[in-house]
Each structure stands twice: as C-alpha cells, then as structure tokens.
C-alpha cells in the first residue's frame, strides 16, 4: 500500500497497522464497553462484578501466559526461517492443550483468590482457559498466516459476545452470569476460528516428534522479559486494588482509556517497521551473506541506525500529538465517563505515562527485533520494578494518583532508549562476535591434520 505513494495507500497501510497491532484488543475493549452500556440501560448493577471477573481473568492470563506465548512465537519463527514448518503443528497443539488445561487451573485459583462466588467463578475459569489459548494462537499465528485471519476471528467473535451478553442475562437460567457466558461464547468462536486458521497455515505433513521443551531453555530470557513486560502493565493496578485504594477502579478505567491513545503510534510503528525499517534490516543482513566488504557493511549499519532513530522519532512525534490532544480533552473525557473532576488529574498523568510507555515499548520491540534479549529483559524489568515501587510510594492520594506510573514510564523510556542506542552503536561487532562457533566445520579440512 505504501508503494502506491498515495494518500489512500498510506491511509490503508496505517489502518492495516491499527488492525494488526490493536485490532483484537480494540474489539475486546469495544465489546466490554458495549456490554457495560447495555447493562446500564437495563439497570443491572451486577455487571460491575462481571467486569471485575473479566479484568481479573485478562490480567492473570496475559501476565502468566506471556512467557509461553513468546517462546512459542520464537520457536515458530525459527522453524519458518529454517524452512521446517512441519515442526510447528505438534508443539502448537501441545501448547494449546497445556493452556486450556493449565489455565483452567490458574483461572480457578485466581477466581478463588479474588473471592468471586461460584456462579461467576465457573464461567470465569472457563473464560481464562479460552483467553489463554487465544493469546497463544495470536502469538503463533502472527508469523504463520495473514493478519486478516486474526482480525476476522476477532471480528466474528466480537458481535457474538455482544449479542450473547445482551440476551443471556435475560434468561432465568443465567441471570447476571449471562454476561460472562455470553461474552465467553463469542470468545470461544474467536478461539475456534483462530485455531482453524492457524492449523490451515501449516503443512499437512507434520513432524510428530517435534518438541518445544528445549525452546524454553534457549529462550528463557525472552520468557522472563515477556513476563516482566506484561506484569509491568498491571502491577500498578494490582497494587492499588490489593492496597484497598478507593479510587482503584477509577484508576483502572482511566488507564484503559489512556491506553487507547497509543493506537495511532502503534500503527505508525507497525507500518514503519514493516516497510522502511524492514528494508534496511534485510539489506544489512542480506549483505552479510552476499559477501559484502567491511566498508559496505559499515555503511549499511549506519543507515540502519539512522532508520531506528527515524522510527523512534516518528513514533514519539505521533504519540506526542495524540497525548497533547488527549490531555487537553481530559476534562471532557472524564465527564463522558461520569467520573469526578478530580479524576481528570489522574487521567492526565496516565495519558502522559502511556505516551512515554509506548516510546519505551517501541524501543523494546526494536531490541527484540535485533535479538538483544538481555537488554529487552532489562527494560521490561525496569518497567515492572519502577512501576511497582513508585506506585507504592505515591499511594492513593487522588491528586498524584498516576504519577508513580508516569515517572516509572519515563525511567523505562530512558533505560530502553539508552540500551538501544548502545547496542546499535556496537551492532556490527555484536553481529559477528555473538556468532556461536560450531565444533565441527566440514568446510575446513586442513590437509596436514
């Protein structure tokens, strides 16, 4: 689309970026908003408890499944690179089974710890296993099949979730739990479509002996980084809830709204990485294997460094504009959400924090792109630790609620950009010196020994 070099082409590319980076999350959020709206119109207050169940489910699943998802994603990517797609299906099925069973147990435990009644805990547990399997397939399917499969799966399940959540509570059999069952039904359809689409993308001849166990050992750093990253997104909310801060739900709602503002920057990042950045990236690595001289490689590395800077600057610029508009609109947003005016300050802090965080996430994504795992882990751990510590330090004072998160995001931003800059400066050396040396090299047969 970008190659068309037209306004419509660029617009199409960015909308595709929105769909790919944020489609599933936006659809899910939209569904939850619609559920809330329909429940509010029907005068049902029990939807608040349902929302809490769904929040606990997503928080638990996203944080705990992240390590599994990223390892599977990396495993699948490696097999695709090695042209061994036949080795993906068996481990994928295994991990889907593990998720369905394992997160049933995890979900049940989360429901119990959160103190939900059995009537909500049961569908909550089922929902946990469905969502875990969804996210697992999202991580694998991203590289195996067209993004359209993902978007279509969520687009098909979302209306069903809305319809189910609208009608089922009206049935005496379900009552208020109908929201959960209705929502879960749609998500089950999404899961089925994701599974079907993903398995279709894999070859029929599969290596049934393929195992993924060793990938967890090899990519433990990626798994740890994924855990820290997602835990870092939730730690402030969890701390506020556990601490019994009265404004914890308001904080969570404002945080959700703040995260919506990163959609344009995320789309920009996606388009840039998939086009200009990817071209430079491929040019460098292709030149390595094509016999480029040192001078040529140094030139390509410099261009790649330039492209990284451009990508980050562009992302930051887009985000800065959106954040500015959103902060100026904070009072209006607070009013639309029927919140107290004081919560506008919280929203403003969270908007700034989210803006900073998306820049940090961009830098982290680039670290992942270059397989700088240690640095990605350092960045994710920084977010987790600083967000947790500073949220605790700031406490529940509504005047500064959100400040801890914002400062944490600022620190993480600095750390991620510094690490990325340092690694990019040493990219050429790192490219070569990180190469493992195989013990046997059949190409080198010295005649004397």
């Amino acid at each position: 689309m970008m190659a068309r070099d037209s306004l419509s082409g660029s617009l199409g590319a960015f909308l595709t970026g929105v769909a790919v980076t944020s489609g599933p999350w936006l659809l899910t959020t939209l569904v939850l908003v619609l559920v809330r709206i329909s429940a509010a119109r029907s005068g049902t207050l029990a939807v608040q408890e349902v929302e809490q169940v769904i929040t606990v489910v997503y928080a638990t699943v996203i944080v705990l499944s992240a390590p599994i998802d990223i390892v599977l994603s990396r495993y699948a990517a490696d097999r695709v690179y090695e042209k061994r797609r036949d080795q993906i299906a068996a481990p994928l099925r295994t991990m889907v089974s593990v998720c369905l069973l394992g997160f049933t147990a995890v979900g049940a435990l989360a429901m119990r710890l959160a103190g939900f009644p059995l009537a909500l805990a049961i569908p909550g547990t089922v929902l946990a296993s469905i969502v875990a399997a969804q996210w697992l397939l999202l991580s694998a399917a991203g590289g195996l099949s067209s993004p359209g499969i993902i978007v279509r799966a969520f687009a098909a399940g979302a209306p069903l979730s809305v319809v189910g959540a609208y009608y089922l509570p009206g049935l005496e059999l379900f009552g208020a739990t109908g929201y959960l069952y209705g929502y879960g039904l749609g998500q089950l359809v999404t899961l089925a479509l994701l599974l079907h689409g993903t398995m279709r993308a894999l070859p029929e001849d599969e290596d049934e002996d393929a195992r993924i166990g060793s990938a967890f050992r090899e990519y433990w750093m990626l798994a740890a980084a994924a855990f820290c990253f997602h835990a870092g997104l939730w730690v402030d909310k969890i701390i506020l809830y556990v601490s019994g801060v009265a404004d914890a739900p308001i904080y969570a709602a404002c945080a959700a709204v703040a995260w919506l503002t990163v959609v344009p920057a995320a789309a920009f990042l996606f388009v840039t990485i998939e086009t200009a950045f990817h071209r430079r990236f491929r040019a460098y690595y292709a030149a390595l294997h094509a016999g480029a001289s040192l001078r040529e490689l140094e030139r390509l590395v410099a261009e790649l460094r330039e492209e990284v800077d451009e990508t980050l600057r562009g992302t930051a610029a887009v985000q800065a504009g959106v954040t500015l508009i959103a902060v100026m609109s904070a009072p209006a947003i607070v009013g639309a959400l029927s919140l107290h005016a004081d919560h506008g300050v919280t929203l403003a802090w969270l908007l700034v924090g989210a803006g900073l965080q998306v820049v940090a996430v961009s830098a982290t994504l680039l670290l992942y792109y270059f397989d700088f795992r240690r640095e990605a882990l350092a960045t994710a751990a920084t977010q987790l630790v600083t967000n947790g510590v500073l949220t605790l330090a700031v406490g529940g004072d509504s005047r500064v609620l959100g400040l801890g998160y914002t400062v944490a995001c600022a620190i993480t931003c600095v750390v991620s950009l510094t690490l990325l800059r340092r690694r990019m400066e040493g990219l050429l050396g790192r490219t070569f010196q990180s190469q493992p040396f195989a013990s046997e090299d059949a190409a080198l047969e010295l005649g004397s020994v």
Partner: protein, 515 residues
C-alpha cells in the same frame, strides 16, 4: 572418543610432539618415530599426538614400545574447552568489556601484522591469557580484525569470509596451547606447524630445550595444499572475463603457517633436517644456520654385496626380461599411502602412457583408508584407462618381502622429505624413479660424499605423466642400466643412510640437550 594415555609415570626424558602421524598414521615419518623409540630403550619418551578431531583415527598402527610413558592426545577441532567443561558449541551470553587486550591477542596481531618472530612474541604466546570464549566473543578481537587485519589481508573482500577464516585459523592455536604438555627434559617436535608451535611454547613455559626435526618442509607443503584448497573461495572477477582471482585468504593462511614454522625455528636449540637441499630451504625460510644439523634417514644395514642380477629376475629364476607381448617387461612397485600428496593419479596416467611401449606389472602397496574419496578416484582412473590388468592395489603389506620382487620403485609425490621408501628400496638393490621433490634428487644422483657412485635411479618432473612414463620405458628397455643403478643404490645406502648413524646422531643430540 578420547583414548586414555598409555600410562603417565612422571617426567619423561624426551617428549615427542607429533602432528597427524605416529602412532595412528602409517608412513615414513611414523616409521622413523618408531625407529627412534626402539633405538633408545633406556630413555623414557612421552608422546603428544595432535589430531584433527576426536575419532579421526582408529587404533594405533604400531605396537607402542614399553619406554613410552605417556600417550597424550590433543585436537585442533572438536569440543571446545571452556573453563572446566568441554562444550560442543559456544554461545555468547556476554561479551567481555573493558578488559585490556590479552597478550596472546597481541601475539596473534604480531604474527599477522609485524612479520617478526622474537622472544617477546613467544612469551606472549606462552602466557595463555586468552581463553577461547574471549577470543571468539571479545571486543578486542573484533577491533583487531576490523581496524587492522581486514584491510591488510583482504581490503575489499567479503568480510564474513575473512571473519570465519580468522576464527577457524586461531581456534586450533588456542586449543592446542591451552592443553597441557607432558613434562619432559627435552621437547622434540617432529615437524614445525602445530607440533613446532606446541613444542616452542612448552619450551618457553618450562625452560627446557626444543629440538625440531623436519622431514618435509611443513610451511611449503601447506602452501602447496592451500593453492589448491577448495574450501577457500576465489574471487569472481568479471573484469577478468570470468576467471576467478586467487583469494587473498590463501596468502593469509600460507603466511600463518610460515610464521608457525619461524616460531619453531626461533625457539629451537637444534633444527634437524634430512638433506642439504632441505637445509638450504630452511635457511631461506628464516632458520639460523648454526642451529641446523643434517641427519639423513637410515635403514638397517643391507647385504654387503649387490646381487649380480636384477632382484625381480632373480626371484623369477629368469636371466633376461620376460617378453610376453614382444615388449620389454617391468615390475613396478609403489609403496605409500594412497593420498593426494603422493600423486598416485600421475603414476596411473604415466603407466597408461608407458604401457603402449612396454609391459608393466604395477603393484600399489599401502593403506587406502586415509582419503577414501581419493582412493576411489584412483580406482576409477585405473578402470577408465583399462589398466585393471596392469595395476593392482595390494593395500598394506609387509613391504620388506615385496621390494626384492620389484624391478623399480616409483614415487610420483608432490612433496617429500627424504623418503624411507627409497632407502628401503635401495637396501634391496632396487633403483627408484622419483619426482624432483625434497631430497629425492640428492638420494638418486648423490650428494657431496657419494655422487661418484653414480645415479641410483631417474629424477622426473612433478605431476608430469609423460616424463614419468619415459623413465619407466627407459628402465624397461635397458636391464643393464637397471642393474647398474641397483648396485649404485645399494652402495649409496650402505655408505650414507644407515640406521646406526641416525641413532648415534640423535644420541649425541639428546645427550648434549640434556646436559
């Protein structure tokens, strides 16, 4: 699989450092080593064998004498030792930063950049302060490559190729220098190259003297192999109408091996060579004149009088050449490994040319398992030239029994030192046709002390089947010439190439070193 040493009972008198030879590879050098071990039963020897990788060799080809106290093995490739445990692959979780460059890295730099060998270089190599992990993944190594070596060696060539060649070149060096060397009073390297390097460093670390014996000239042999090596990709040069330019990496490797030789020359107290011809080449390659001693190979004393009839004819009971097809007949023996450096291909082609004029019965005696693909090529060539009735591959045999059955022994080697095969043939009164490599000309035409005996064979050009064929034809047609050459051969070996002379020379050498 690493075999345990024979036994290890403390300090040896002499540590022999061997590269790809005794006790696992049969051949002239191994036979020489076995002679040395057997000649000094009261001296304790330790053997350090340098092989390519674990599992390269099967069982020893020689019965190891009881005066060998240790048989240790080290490898150029295979599991890479990192810290305490060998690992098959090295991953790079961390790159050491901020450290001062290791002395060994400085030595590596000097090897490639300064072209100078001195005590400081040897001390740096002996420091052992550069681990394999640091070499492979450290910043200092990459800076050396990037800032100095690449522009010096291959300024516009593929950097990736240069990088991997650099690694492959130095990993064996680091591995070998990290391996412990048996404790001994004298270190005796039986070549330069890796054996000479290990010996030189062991000598520096222990303060014990180093002796180097060169049979072939290691650096020159490597240069020859490197000029043909297919694992070095030449550069496609479209300006040269598609004819590839030689890769500068060939020169890179050649220079490296030359420097290894010079390191051994520098540290050695004595350099033993087999011939005056090789002595001249060692001097040209940087050896100090006062260190060089010529100690030719030797064989056990032959019968005092030469037979009056050619040996093969005596064995068959006939007094003249047996004419089967109306052509003169010749029984030819080749004794050696069927490997590229022996250039058996040229031998086969020469036989193919000569048999148009003479009847030949050629027996190729020696192992064929060292380079199976080359052995298959030779067998295919025999078949394609329809020489199956002429050439027979006998495999390993007791050659002492076979020499008397040959009219002539044929060597078409690309490189030799002072072939024991020729001396053994001489001891049986058999003349030799050999290529002009190593000490072959000197052995055939004589040196300062024995030129008057006359030629004991014919010297031919290297890799030249017509020249070799012409020599075969000449000897087939002239039995009296063969007889005269056989007598000269016997006289020559009795005069100059006696095993007891070798034993006495090394006894004197070892005694002076030990003192």
């Amino acid at each position: 699989m690493t075999r345990p040493p024979v036994r290890c009972t403390g300090t040896a008198d002499v540590a022999l450092i061997l590269e790809g030879t005794y006790p696992y590879v049969a051949g002239g050098v191994s036979t020489w080593v076995h002679q040395i071990l057997g000649a000094y039963p009261d001296r304790r020897f330790a053997l350090l064998h340098i092989g390519p990788h674990p599992g390269a060799y099967e069982e020893p080809r020689y019965a190891i004498p009881s005066n060998v106290t240790t048989l240790a093995e080290v490898y150029c490739r295979g599991a890479v030792p990192v810290g305490k445990f060998p690992v098959r692959r090295i991953d790079a979780p961390r790159l050491p930063r901020g450290k001062q460059p290791a002395r060994m890295l400085r030595a590596i730099r000097r090897i490639h950049v300064e072209d100078v060998v001195d005590d400081e270089l040897l001390d740096d190599l002996a420091s052992g302060d550069l681990g394999v992990n640091e070499f492979l993944h450290g910043d200092a190594t990459f800076e050396l490559l990037r800032n100095e070596l690449y522009d010096r060696v291959s300024p516009s060539g593929p950097f990736m190729d240069f990088f991997w060649h650099f690694r492959a070149m130095h990993i064996p060096l680091l591995r070998l220098l990290a391996a412990p060397c048996p404790d001994a009073g004298i270190y005796h390297a039986v070549s330069t190259g890796y054996a000479g390097l290990v010996g030189a460093v062991a000598s520096v670390r222990t303060g014990r003297p180093l002796v180097v014996t060169e049979h072939g000239l290691y650096a020159r042999e490597r240069e020859m192999e490197l000029s043909r090596a297919r694992w070095i990709q030449d550069i496609d040069d479209r300006r040269a109408h598609g004819v590839p330019r030689p890769s500068p990496l060939r020169r890179f490797w050649s220079h490296y091996f030359r420097m290894l030789s010079r390191i051994a020359y520098h540290r050695a107290t004595r350099l033993v060579t087999l011939s005056e011809a090789n002595r001249a080449k060692q001097l040209a390659d940087g050896a100090a004149p006062h260190k060089i001693v010529v100690v030719p190979n030797g064989v056990a004393r032959a019968a005092p009088t030469a037979p009056t009839t050619p040996p093969a004819q005596a064995a068959s009971g006939e007094l003249g050449p047996r004419l089967v097809t109306g052509k003169p007949r010749l029984r030819v023996g080749f004794v050696g490994r069927v490997v590229p450096i022996k250039d058996v291909i040229t031998l086969i082609k020469a036989v193919g040319l000569a048999r148009e004029h003479v009847d030949l019965d050629v027996q190729i005696v020696g192992p064929q398992d060292e380079d199976p693909s080359y052995a298959r090529r030779c067998a295919s060539l025999v078949e394609s030239l329809d020489l199956g009735a002429v050439i027979t591959f006998l495999g390993p045999r007791n050659v002492a029994e076979l020499y008397p059955t040959f009219d002539v022994v044929l060597l078409t080697s690309l490189s030799e030192g002072q072939p024991l095969v020729m001396l053994e043939a001489y001891a049986a009164g058999v003349p030799v046709i050999a290529t002009d490599v190593g000490a072959c000309r000197e052995l055939i035409e004589g040196g300062e002390g024995d030129r008057a005996l006359g030629p004991s064979g014919i010297v031919t050009r290297v890799a030249n089947p017509p020249a070799t064929a012409a020599a075969l034809i000449a000897l087939a047609r002239d039995p009296s010439l063969r007889a005269a050459m056989g007598q000269a051969a016997l006289a020559r070996v009795n005069a100059r190439y006696q095993l007891n002379q070798v034993v006495a020379s090394y006894e004197s050498l070892y005694s002076s070193m030990a003192a």
